[in-house]
Symmetry: C2
Subunit: 242 residues, 2 copies
Amino acid sequence: MKKIEICLSPELIHLHDLKGKIVVVVDIFRATSTMVTGLANAVQSITPVAGLETCRAMKKEGYIIAGERNGQTAEGFELGNSPLSYLKKAYEGKKIAVTTTNGTLAIELSKKDADEVILGAFLNLQATADYLVQKNKDVVIHCAGWKGMFNLEDSLYAGALVKRLAGHFTFDCDGAIAMKSLFEQHQNNLQGFLNQASHAKRLQNHNIEADIDFCLTMDKYDLVGKLQGEALIKVNPQKETT
Amino acid sequence: MKKIEICLSPELIHLHDLKGKIVVVVDIFRATSTMVTGLANAVQSITPVAGLETCRAMKKEGYIIAGERNGQTAEGFELGNSPLSYLKKAYEGKKIAVTTTNGTLAIELSKKDADEVILGAFLNLQATADYLVQKNKDVVIHCAGWKGMFNLEDSLYAGALVKRLAGHFTFDCDGAIAMKSLFEQHQNNLQGFLNQASHAKRLQNHNIEADIDFCLTMDKYDLVGKLQGEALIKVNPQKETT
């Protein structure tokens, strides 16, 4: 059986050998949830870029630019980081360039060595689990964290994915054991548990209650978001052949 | 109220500002449990050193040398890393020099900036909690981890200490929220939960079942182990004045 590992922060990713593995990058509030929502709402592609300036420059190349810093839409950007902006196919067919605080970094650090990088979100949890079972490669769940530190919501997602994959994969990793157990304990009241999250984080997330509700919705979308070259695109797990 | 933070790995300690704070270093299997046991059994002091060779050289200076690599007593060393070796005051009055895989590193990385470095172990959990309440400074619980990664038993200890300190301290840290919850879920069967720990770690811990039982004993000793200069010494929390 193939293995699952959890990496709890981008600051720890160098401890994991990513070669031959699929890396699931997760930044629940809100980068990867927003990317999955965009792809489910027919955007053509989403290109994550590291800096605000690089992202801004892509506007001239026909990209819709999306960016936030500390939870706010960055100056001169059309979009911030709310998944709700993409609903009703608002950006159908468009190419999006996006920069976010934690999520972009985690993607960047994963793509060099991994076989594949895909997006993790509660919104497409089962589709992602099905895809990983079908691919049958070792998996690393890479939590984007919060400024390099352990992050509650990303870690709970990691636990949820381990739970869905148990039986198909082994998990020989203390992080996976801990986060699966933590998710099982709180799965019926994720929002209540997350309300305890750190004060600094809650301040950052002020006025995004609707986004948070949305990002905690399970299995709304039946697609996988996959990095191809520099851009994330939609993959339908049932149709892709290995 | 003063704050508690958890640092889940020495690889993340640079994200924490340790100035003015007390750092509780924890390596449950077995470095810090063994050190607490030694201090409770009347050793004079325990000096943690980074390398095997440095430690070996201290024999000539009159130290009893203790060292393990990958769970085994290192060649030419009198002691390995078993807490049981120190029982019945077997090394009463002796100065011990010790090197271990993860614990020594965590102490080394903590001592530069912290106000104080003390030892964390289930064996003296309440004494340590009482000491921290008495001192009334911000606290960072520094988990030694396993080869830089998240470690189940050290994290559970961190959760246990947060639980004992709740009401006296605030914890504005996702790691603290998560580990307190995980400890609460498994506090009545720590050993059963820890039996799920990673296969590689279990192999490393082979033939140390008696040590593991001992290290999971709660509140056996009423003392605090504190770094003073280069050596860990025993402090009686009731008698020290601030």
